[in-house]
Each structure stands twice: as C-alpha cells, then as structure tokens.
C-alpha cells in the first residue's frame, strides 16, 4: 500500500504543518516547565516570582491548548482521510482552519511573553484558567477566540468529508476512525459553547472596556463548563491511537469495534455535564448541583475502564499472534524495542495511576484534602502530561514516516526518549502527589512560608523537592530529544520509508453492533439534554445572585504586574 503522503499529498502537507506547529509549542512549553520545576523547588531559581507566573501561563496555554490541539487536528485529519479513503472535499477550508489557529496562537503567545518585558505594556499573567477579575491584555482573549474558531472550522471540514462519503455509501457503517473523530468533534462543539460565551460575551469586551464589571463566579463556571470536556478532547486522539494503531503495533487486531463505539458515545454524553466537579469548594453553588456533577463524573470512569480492557485484550491478542504464551508470559512477546509501541504502553501504565488519583479528585468530600494542592498538577501530568503527551510522541514515531516518506532517524534513540519520559514523570508526579497531601499549594512561585513548615507523613519535603526537580529535568531532556529525532527524521536523515501495511480489521467488527450506535443526531440530542439538565439551574442561580456583569467587581489588571497589585 502506498504511503499516505503519496496518495494524499495535499492533505499530508497540511498535517505536517499542524504537527510542526504542535511540536513548536511543545518545545517552548517544555522549557517553561523546566524553569518552573527548578524554581519552585528552590533547586535553581532562575526567574523572579513575577516571571514565574508569566512562565506558568505560557506553559499551560502552550502545552494544554496549543500542543495538544494542533496534534489533534493533524491526527484527526489523517484518520478521516485514511478511513474514508478519500481526500478532503475542499482544502481551502483546512487551510483557513490552520491559518486561524496559527494567528490565534501567535497573538495569545505574544501577549503572554510580553509579561517578561516590563517595557512592553502587554501581558497576560492570568494562567490558562484566566479567572476574572484578573484581567489580561485583550490580545490574549482575542487570540484564543481566533484559535477556537479555527478548531470549529477544522471540525466542519471533517463533517463535510463524511457527508461526501455518506452520499456515495448510503448503507455502510461509519468507518471506526471517522466515527471517533465525529463524536469527539460533536463533544467539542457542545463543550466549547462555554468558552466561547466566556471569552466573546464577557472577557474580551470587558478587557476592551466595554463592560465595567464582571461576575467572577459566572465566568469561572463557564470556564469549567468547557474545562472538563477539554480533557477528553486531549485524551480522545490518544484513545484513537490506542484503539486503532496500537493493536497493529502489537501484531494483532482491535478486540471489539462495537465497544470502541460505545466508549466514544459515552464520552460525547458525559464529558460536559461534570464541570462543576472543579468547583466543589466554590461558594455560590448549591450542594445538590455538586452532587449531580459527582455522580456524572463517577460514571465517566466507565468508558476509560472499558478502554483499559479492550486495549489490553487487543495487545494480548497481538502478543499471542507473535507466539506469546502463558498468563503473563505473553507480555515478553510484545515489540518492546519499537518506541511507538513502548511509548503508548508506558503512557497507558501511567494513565492507570492518574486514573486512581482522579477518582480521589472526583470524590466530592474527599477533594477537600487535595483541592488546589500540588496533588492536582501531579494528577494531570499523568493524564494529559503522559497518557496524552507520551502517546502523541510515540504515535509520531509511527505516523511521521507516512507523512514525510522518511523512516525515524533512530528507533533506539526514540526508545530512550519514551523511557526517559516515563522515568522522569514517575519521579515528578509521585512527589507532587505526596507533596499535595502535605498541603503544599499548586501554582506558587515559592512554596516556603514564614510562619510554618510543611510536614509530610512519608519521607522528607526536601526529598520531594529533589524528585520534582530531577523529574522535571528528565522530562525536559526527553522533550528535547523528541524534537531532535523529529527534526533529523524530517531533514532527509532517515531511510526512505517502506510501504505501510493497512490497519487490520477488528476481531469483532461494526456488523456486530446495533446501527443505532451510528445515529449521531440521537446522541447529540441526549448530550445536549444532559447539559441542559446539569447546568440550567446553577447558571440561573449564579446570574440571579450576582448579576450577569457582577456588582461593582472591577478588573485587577495583570498588565504591570507587581506595581499594581500590592496592598489592601
């Protein structure tokens, strides 16, 4: 079978551009991550506290939004074109989407980085959660809005490709990868309504001086309406790779296509009406709404638990095809020397650990113990920082040759890179979890205080700091190694790529599942209904208590930083 880039050269070019943007964000974001790890542990404080928060904002935005979503656009475009076996209907739309995302990224990033230079009257030290009434430069919000609109256009393009295919294939089941893309995109449309209203109706006009006041609880709730769904927008491209590429890498086939569809439908239904679980400790939201969010969140464990089964079963099938035997002996038959496989498998292992700490976070009243402590970033560096990021890097080792026509420069180096990420993250995240239990807060330039010291029941605080600094350093080295491998492979340093086998069909195919699973209108309708049920009353209460625009709550500009803020 011909390489993707030979069959669809124009699409391959757009995908390569999106990957290049994604990896640029990864490189810059990783550098800020290193600075933070060295700074807040006191190991090597290179930046001032003010600059720490600028770096933290850049780290969050560039890695959580830009790196992940550009990569998603690349993988989803590849998956739609590959699984429908047809090019995009009109490339201008894909180019428009990409262009909007790039302009938005540059605008937002420039306003954030302006925070490093006091002479430039531009900054956005508001972190990625941008809680009002902290106020950023309008360019920060405007850039995010353009980026968001770009992703909507990209999603529309995938739907157009599918409509075209549907006209020619009226009776066929939606190919699995396209099904995953479409359900994830529908989830994105429903969930980004919150961010769009927050930014376009409130934050952007407010930063331009059109609104004088703001309701911080309302904008915060709108953010989290979006903010939990987005974690599945990061995760589902990784799931797509786990379900459709990893079984092939292991030498087998996907265990069950029907269950994969069920999992993606569950994410479409449940990933938005849970956002209030980020606000368990907020005033102004009644306990009953928090309880509803908690039960929805717990049910959201189901698709991930099902995924654990299907992925492990598929890999085991592959191992047995390769001659593996025994209860656990088959593990030895897996292709552990392939960085694409090993990276995804290690990502899966740390995701299980992240899942456990996530269950603690979801536990409404248990959450008191960990809320806003460094336990929380410990948790999400296992999920988005490993399950997602490491799977993306591993997936790149498999996908890139099909897009560039060149093999990966060195698989051995790739293997070193993914193992380094695993080791670095194990150091960093276990120490962050434990430090969180000692009460050390997150998002803090220097967590040492004058009136008291933190005490940890296990080990010593100094040991935890050392582990965070060491882990952060290893992660940075791994990220740089990844970029080096990608650049060398891209620059004609790799061998010409061999032709690729097609992805194998699942053991249990779509024909074993009821056609209703493919009824996207039905699932979208139910998803919208669940959102309305979960969110109408909280929003009505928040607006009737605090008003649409707040009551005399004025902006706290993060534009000149420390000069403005100090003092009562």
């Amino acid at each position: 079978m011909a390489l993707f880039r030979d069959e669809y050269p124009a699409e391959a070019r757009i995908i390569r551009l999106a990957l290049a943007s994604s990896f640029t964000a990864l490189g810059i974001g990783a550098l800020f991550g290193l600075l933070q790890a060295l700074n807040r542990t006191g190991v090597l404080p290179l930046i001032s506290p003010t600059d720490y928060y600028t770096a933290l904002t850049a780290h969050g935005v560039l890695l959580a939004l830009i790196f992940t979503i550009f990569f998603l656009v690349a993988v989803f475009t590849w998956a739609v074109v590959r699984s429908l076996e047809r090019g995009l209907p009109d490339l201008r739309l894909a180019k428009l989407a990409y262009g909007l995302m790039v302009i938005g990224t540059v605008t937002t990033t420039v306003t954030i980085l302006g925070g490093f230079v006091p002479e430039i009257p531009m900054s956005a030290d508001v972190l990625y959660t941008m809680y009002a009434p902290m106020q950023a430069h309008p360019g920060f919000y405007g850039g995010l809005a353009l980026f968001l609109i770009g992703t909507w256009v990209a999603g529309f393009d995938w739907f157009r490709a599918w409509w075209g295919w549907r006209n020619d294939n009226p009776d066929e089941r939606i190919p699995l990868q396209t099904f995953m893309v479409l359900t994830t995109t529908l989830m994105w449309y429903i969930g980004t309504i919150g961010l769009a209203i927050e930014v376009l109706v409130f934050l952007l006009p407010w930063s331009l001086g059109i609104w004088e006041s703001i309701n911080p609880l309302l904008t915060r709730t709108l953010f989290w309406y979006f903010g939990h769904m987005v974690v599945y927008f990061w995760l589902l491209p990784a799931y797509l790779l786990w379900y459709t590429v990893m079984p092939k890498l292991a030498g087998g086939r996907l265990f069950s296509d029907p269950l994969a569809r069920v999992v993606f439908v569950l994410f479409l239904l449940l990933s938005t009406p849970v956002g209030v679980h980020h606000q368990y400790l907020d005033p102004g939201i009644a306990e009953g709404f928090k309880f509803i969010a908690m039960t929805n969140t717990m049910f959201l464990l189901l698709p991930s638990l099902l995924t654990a089964f299907t992925v492990v079963a598929s890999i085991e099938h592959g191992a047995r095809q390769r001659g593996g035997t025994g209860y656990l002996g088959w593990l030895g038959a897996l292709p552990w020397r392939k960085p694409a496989f090993t990276g995804m498998a290690l990502a899966g292992i740390l995701f299980a650990a992240g899942g456990f700490s996530g269950m603690i976070n979801a536990g409404m009243n248990i959450n008191y113990l960990v809320h806003n402590t460094i336990w929380i970033p410990g948790h999400f560096h296992l999920t988005v920082g490993t399950a997602v990021a490491l799977t993306f890097m591993a997936g790149t080792y498999w996908l890139l040759p099909q897009l560039t026509g060149r093999e990966i420069f060195s698989e051995r180096l790739g293997l070193t890179q993914v193992v380094l990420w695993f080791v670095g993250m194990t150091f960093m995240s276990n120490a962050m979890h434990r430090a969180g239990l000692a009460g050390i807060p997150r998002r803090t330039a220097d967590p040492t205080y004058t009136g008291f010291v933190f005490e940890t029941p296990l080990g010593a605080i100094s040991e935890l700091r050392a582990q965070i600094a060491l882990g952060g350093t290893l992660l940075f080295v791994s990220a740089m190694l990844f970029l080096l491998i990608v650049i060398l492979s891209w620059m004609d340093r790799g061998q010409p790529a061999a032709t690729h086998d097609p992805l194998p069909a699942p053991l249990s195919g779509a024909e074993h599942s009821p056609p209703i699973l493919d009824n996207l209108k039905l699932w979208t309708g139910i998803a919208v209904a669940l959102v309305i049920l979960a969110y109408t009353l909280p929003f009505v209460a928040i607006v009737s208590d605090g008003g649409l625009l707040g009551d005399g709550i004025r902006a706290s500009a993060q534009i000149i930083g420390p000069l403005l803020g100090v003092g009562p």
């Binding site: 902290m134 400790l281 464990l301 099902l306 998002r443 009136g451 599942s513 706290s556 930083g561």
Partner: protein
C-alpha cells in the same frame, strides 16, 4: 450486540466499582456529615465590605458555648486578620470574602479548604480538635505576590484559653 464474556464481567465489575464510589461519597456526606461549601454564605458586593458588620472589623467572635464565628477578608496578598485564635475543641464557622480577585483559604495539614470569590461569601464550619499552630495559605493564584499570602490559626489548649483575640 455481541460482547465477549470476559468483557461483560469487566463491565459489571466497573459498574459495581462506580456505585461503590458514589456510595462512599454519599456516606461521607450523609452519615459522617461532611458538608460541601455551598451557596449558604450569600453574596456581598466588594463596595459593601467596609460597611458590613461582619467584615468591617474582621475577627473571631464567640457565638455559643465552644462555638465561634470567624470573619475573614482574603485580599492581595494577605489575610485579615492574619492570625486567628480559638480554643481547643471549638467549632468555628468561617465567613470569608474577597474585595479583589479569587483566593484560596487552606488550613495546612487539614481538610479545611475553600475557594474565596469576589461577590460571594464562603461559609464553612470546621472543628478544631487538636491544639497547635496551624498555617493558612492562599492556594489559588491571585497575582504577583501570591506566594507570600499566608496566615495562621492558633488553637489554644483549654487550660490556657482566656478568651478573645
């Protein structure tokens, strides 16, 4: 729909686990009585804070035998009052608000933890069973001086308690 037997077992196990989790949380809420911070603290406009009986003079006040109320303002980058004194074994209901941006109020080493949002009053009741000095940190980013924002709660042994602050 065709589901493998092992997968059906796994699915059933996953559902049992989820129901158990929800059960544990419900037990904590209903039987143990861990209340969530809720809308019960009401709202207050930042401009009203200086004229409000509770917050014009931030303090701890005795309201019953062993029952106290603490009125606290969290602002960039300090807590008012910076130090609270209560006797060992007391039950303290906190009322916390902010005149500027979001803050956190975390009693270090305990599960007393709450968000403070301008326009809202956060209300939470905490039992202080062990005497000692507890640190309080702001655990929500609030600006360039966020990491300097701290306070303390002195839980005084009953034998040494003379009342007042």
């Amino acid at each position: 729909m065709d589901i493998h037997r092992y997968e059906r077992l796994w699915l059933a196990g996953a559902l049992v686990l989820i129901v158990l989790f929800i059960g544990t949380i419900t037990y904590g809420a209903v039987v143990v009585g861990v209340e969530m911070v809720s809308a019960s603290g009401g709202t207050i406009a930042p401009d009203e804070i200086p004229n409000d009986d509770r917050f014009s003079d931030p303090r701890v006040e005795q309201v019953g035998e062993n029952e106290y109320e603490a009125y606290v303002i969290a602002r960039q980058f300090l807590f008012q009052p910076r130090q609270l004194r209560v006797p060992e074994g007391s039950t303290v209901t906190f009322y916390v608000t902010s005149p500027d941006v979001l803050h956190g109020f975390e009693v270090v080493g305990t599960n007393a933890n709450m968000m403070v949002i301008p326009g809202q009053v956060t209300k939470a009741t905490v039992e202080f069973e062990e005497a000692g000095s507890y640190g309080v940190v702001c655990n929500e980013y609030c600006g360039a001086g966020h990491h300097t924002m701290e306070g303390s709660i002195e839980v005084v042994p009953q034998s040494e308690w003379e009342g007042g602050n």
